[in-house]
Subunit: 400 residues, 4 copies
Amino acid sequence: MDFDFSPKVKELQERVSAFMDEHIYPNEERFDREVAQGDRWQPTKLIEELKPKAKEAGLWNLFLPESERGAGLTNLEYAPLCEIMGRVSWAPEVFNCSAPDTGNMEVLERYGKPEHKEKWLKPLLNGEIRSAFAMTEPAVASSDATNIEASIKRDGDEYVINGRKWWTSGIGDPRCKILIFMGKTDPSAPRHEQQSMILVPTDTKGITIERMLPVFGYDDAPHGHGEVNFENVRVPASNLLLGEGRGFEIAQGRLGPGRIHHCMRVIGVAERALERMCKRVKSRVAFGKPVAEQTVTLERIAEARASIDQARLLTLKAAYMMDTVGNKEARMEIAMIKVVAPNMALKVIDWAIQAHGAGGVTTDFGLAQAYAHARTLRLADGPDEVHRNQIGRLELRKYN
Amino acid sequence: MDFDFSPKVKELQERVSAFMDEHIYPNEERFDREVAQGDRWQPTKLIEELKPKAKEAGLWNLFLPESERGAGLTNLEYAPLCEIMGRVSWAPEVFNCSAPDTGNMEVLERYGKPEHKEKWLKPLLNGEIRSAFAMTEPAVASSDATNIEASIKRDGDEYVINGRKWWTSGIGDPRCKILIFMGKTDPSAPRHEQQSMILVPTDTKGITIERMLPVFGYDDAPHGHGEVNFENVRVPASNLLLGEGRGFEIAQGRLGPGRIHHCMRVIGVAERALERMCKRVKSRVAFGKPVAEQTVTLERIAEARASIDQARLLTLKAAYMMDTVGNKEARMEIAMIKVVAPNMALKVIDWAIQAHGAGGVTTDFGLAQAYAHARTLRLADGPDEVHRNQIGRLELRKYN
Amino acid sequence: MDFDFSPKVKELQERVSAFMDEHIYPNEERFDREVAQGDRWQPTKLIEELKPKAKEAGLWNLFLPESERGAGLTNLEYAPLCEIMGRVSWAPEVFNCSAPDTGNMEVLERYGKPEHKEKWLKPLLNGEIRSAFAMTEPAVASSDATNIEASIKRDGDEYVINGRKWWTSGIGDPRCKILIFMGKTDPSAPRHEQQSMILVPTDTKGITIERMLPVFGYDDAPHGHGEVNFENVRVPASNLLLGEGRGFEIAQGRLGPGRIHHCMRVIGVAERALERMCKRVKSRVAFGKPVAEQTVTLERIAEARASIDQARLLTLKAAYMMDTVGNKEARMEIAMIKVVAPNMALKVIDWAIQAHGAGGVTTDFGLAQAYAHARTLRLADGPDEVHRNQIGRLELRKYN
Amino acid sequence: MDFDFSPKVKELQERVSAFMDEHIYPNEERFDREVAQGDRWQPTKLIEELKPKAKEAGLWNLFLPESERGAGLTNLEYAPLCEIMGRVSWAPEVFNCSAPDTGNMEVLERYGKPEHKEKWLKPLLNGEIRSAFAMTEPAVASSDATNIEASIKRDGDEYVINGRKWWTSGIGDPRCKILIFMGKTDPSAPRHEQQSMILVPTDTKGITIERMLPVFGYDDAPHGHGEVNFENVRVPASNLLLGEGRGFEIAQGRLGPGRIHHCMRVIGVAERALERMCKRVKSRVAFGKPVAEQTVTLERIAEARASIDQARLLTLKAAYMMDTVGNKEARMEIAMIKVVAPNMALKVIDWAIQAHGAGGVTTDFGLAQAYAHARTLRLADGPDEVHRNQIGRLELRKYN
């Protein structure tokens, strides 16, 4: 047992931090300005400018473990870097480490056919295109995969896709060329063999973006989250991943890394909120005394620090287990951090908002936006309740 | 002691509810549509259509106690009606009972000169114009009134006003004709005699709306919250309310009713969130069982119901005390509900969001917007921390 | 709606408070000393001395509503008096208002035959004997009445009783002459018609007190809580209350008032803990500053005050509803206060303990004992979880 | 970074667990019986029987790092073993790893003169005698060391000690031969140079045990916690540790390991409570369904598991830092676990109590006693509030 990062990781932490200091933090206002002015749904010039710099700095595709296509980092090595990138919402894309692309690239790497890799994974890894993931449905509690209503039906050499999905993030971006679609190929199969996943190019006929969904008033442009209708969408049968009835299996594989990446990033968000809170309370005086010296303030900072550190350790341990015993054996730890990290972050951000007074709820400090985003993580990839039930069941199983 | 509403109140509750059923709930989508289309900062036709109906129905100016200009209701009688109106964010205006006008009208009624009443109170009571309140400042912790930096300086027959305010709600509305401004006339006076309040017509030279502030991602159009610069703004000396150095006194008087109205409305918001939650969990099935039958769901509903009922009782008691022993004697109860009601509402709304899955964080059920608004109430009119300190001090004083 | 106590109640509050000031608070140490010295399981002389004084002062049997045998107070009138008595754990007995006697007397009054009243109710009302209640069982989750395993079988003119009960409070007291026993007369009857209640004199053959149960480390002598074995205990058939299969019905009737009395008393306990906390923090200095001036302290006092006031209002409302619409219609409110009041008290007492430092966990301030007792109330008469489920179901029923 | 225990630690974990299985768990009832029968304040035969077995098994003095007198384990290596021992309250003594002896032995090892080591440390390490620590005072908030009122005055070749201490744990045990006393040698010195520590044999004239303090009704016999009066107690001047004015320094050194041991043990307590909870809910049925299948139960188990795992990781990290950068550099982590671990344990134990129904608050499952003990840890060695303030200040210092 060793709680120090390896020299390799420390060196990478320094390089990512230096990149953030040089290229990301100084450009936060420019990013907001670019989105505010002009067409919200066009990629920013800023990110396109910065991507080559990150690539050049060797900080590119850090996320992909166990593959020669990635940077050769384990989950445990990637975690602390992901946290640093997560401190600014749009920074991960600069390093080609942003959701949902990382998860999608993992799927293509693990389950894609050679032609899928050539056609989609390669440009994704190069940062030339982006991708989307279409799983959640508005009409049902789709955290229970058996509820999924979308259908994928074989018809000759093709599959015909029908259904309505929402929270298909990134679909609003014109660079988004491919999406992974989850639907049922056989509703009468056993519970976890009904679902399949299939690759759908976004320009296929029959796909309609009904609307872009706001999150607490934010449209999250230019990325955004779409409600998307699929009506008789036809794709080649070879687009099916892994085989009929294996969608649930792929989802499990995909969501492990996806969940842990979300947690790493949201820990970065919490760290930044705490940093802002500390700076704020040192600069404000109320009722004759700096806010920083009030014990209520000190207690919140202490609780924030202890909560962040605990969540980070648990996340790192989950990453360590994914590396050493595999995603399946690590499922309890993954479920735990999926619950712990967003709830922790919400608590910390809420305190930071309160410390900023009315400034906290508006755009000036990024806190309200951070809160809104963290709030979605208690629902995305399965609500807290589903994960807690799973953890509880796994714990009880020890006593069978 | 009697926990039943009087027959008069019950009858009014029924009439307000009936009006909501007939005119408000069925128009919620239309209101959103009107704001989304066209100029966001123009008043909606909808509200202008409904105001005469409310007036005709005798449901107009219900808020103003102890005045022949109002409907003759006490705070205790008004409270349950205010709660019902609060269930829809824009409904109170239809009844001419919306913030910040109600608080401003109370100020004009209690502290205005006859010419102020004629010129500003009358059209406000008629719903012909609207008003704003400029107290909070971006540069300081202005919940401590001694921190206020805005200045009101006598110059001959005029006062000259300088300063920067924000969260001046309603300033974006072209009907907003008058604002009440808080600033210091004498920074060297004793702590609570430095501040004064003065009436400022919104078309006076030197007033600049720097920007409309988003709350989370919502601009709250067409009402909105402005950051406003006042540069050498000159108004007649007679516009000063009550006298130099009495601004803090007026603020205390104004904020009592203002706070309790906010609490009443946010209890209505919580009730509606609980209603939505109950309906939702009855309609969804996950893992083979209606969500409504899971004990986690039942616990949350139970806690929500108990929390709402307790907050309502405390709010009604505060209103009762305002009526019977006065706002000053009721200050502990007012401070308590100011803390209790928004925090309770946030808890309930958060559970309701969770029960709606990813739908909860978007616009479809109004929950994310309700959350954002309730979150501001933990800061508006003094953050929780300031009120808790006051309550704590008042409690400790019992043992002197 | 009116939040003031009636003149009659105010006058009684003053009289009970005066009695507490004169006879109870000054004797707290004496009570502890009497129990500590001599036989712990003998009644104290103190209480026997004070009972005639309370009777003489007209502060006797205040609890029994709707009966000419009581003091003629409604539940709403009794509630604030019960709270005052509850401030000292042994005080209620002085006023003949202590559990479980009050609940048992209510049962005898409502459901007893004339001979039961003559033989048991009369001496109970006179404070000559005490009583016990035998419902909870160690072997099953007996909050679900269908789980109850104790049997009451008809055999000629007698019923034969078998079973093991625990938490039979007061059974250790030699004055305890009668107990009410809950068991099944017909395990095959519909769910809520299997149970019956029967009167059992404590000197009947076959009753064995196995042990007195400690609560945390307190034996609660000389009252105490027994684990009691009933083996072929025979009582006359006429001892059955109301009729076979009506035990659940009686339990519902009995537990309503019993629960509300517990809540009233525990609110008194919370008030006293807050009082102790306020006095303590004013007297202690840490790190150069009175503990009373730290904002953490002020926040806790504020939260305690707001929580107590809300719980009291909800309890009073429940009492009001019991008086006006009956115990059955008031069941949601009763269930709510049953959950709210003990949890609130635990929070307040815990803060008070913390404010007392290491002194808080020992006997010196009565706080640890108060905590232990309040903790039992989250289980006694049904655990929180059962009540929350009931509240949740009642709330959901509104949307059928 | 590595989250696996070393082979050496794993092997020791297995051996300690095996010893617990063979000698500790099967004797829990016997321990209680021995204490209940006979003289409560005599050591149990059981522990004296088991100590040689532990010594023989090589599981002895595992706690003492950086010393050839101990077992040669680092804090990080000892932590997981300490957790296992902590699962039974009296088990650590069997391994000669119990408080306050471990802390006192560390003091003697680090700061004792050779003759102190010969006379006191040697028999302590052999388990022949026990020791006590006298720091906390009833009259002041002694977590602020400057408040300490006890005096240590030089008089020729002796020091004269006066003062009243309480929570001097273990003083009731006749084997307790030596205590470490904290008092002021110079009240006029700078804040942290007023205090000194001195060795006081318990049979010195002038020491009176005023009473043994109950904790939530438990006397914790035969160990117990004394309130002790020191009146003109004279010891040789050479008994002073390290030098006048260095008591605060020693306290800081002593409390680091002491705090972390408490945290390790209380994590063991929490694990055991969760284990009991899981077994209980699997065995009980309420309202037609095993309690284990209710989502409320599953949520609590999940939260318990995630909270325990996080607290353990933070504690292990603190231990790691003590080993690698020293107790002083690890003070923030030590302060964090001092707050986190007991609060976490209380939450988990409280849920376990609730899951056991009324059985949870009595002696049958050890849960109420575990709760009472864990509750003291929020006060012992400094209350939560003091630690949180320290953490807050250290965090804010990053932004100076």
